[in-house]
């Protein structure tokens, strides 16, 4: 778990397109929403 993130520290920012091509920045939700990131184990 060498890259596990640190609790109570700023989460690493990222930008990714969703599957419809719309860009999502983690910072889009700053001051608006709590974010639950779910790291998928695969669509099986």
């Amino acid at each position: 778990m060498s890259n596990a993130i640190q609790i109570n520290q700023p989460a690493p920012d990222f930008t990714l397109p969703d599957f419809e091509g719309k860009l999502v920045h983690l910072t889009d939700f700053r001051g608006k929403k709590n974010v639950i990131l779910v790291f998928n184990r695969g669509f099986t």
Partner: protein, 112 residues
Amino acid sequence: MAQLRLDYEKFIDQEAIILVIGPEDQKAFRSYWQQANLPFRGLPNPDHSVLKQFGQEVNLFKLGRMPAQVIIDKQGIARYAHYGKAMSDIPDNEELVAILREINQEQELIRS
């Protein structure tokens, strides 16, 4: 994801948005979302950059990526992380909702 969907409204009530990030490509995501009719935002990450950034574990013996969940508050602070040790090692929805409730109550206190 099926588990999270069961209590989707509870997560919305706690002012949370659910982003699902996985190694599949855009096409695989789209077809899965269409089939399963999921209410979450799906973010394909075929180059694994964000999966690595957040330390999602890969277990070569179990042939796959281990599930992980991270909660980030409205200030962008990581408040919770669960790194699964097995495919089925996923926190209960109730646990996640309780953490969100705590975060929101704390924010209320700071504001008041």
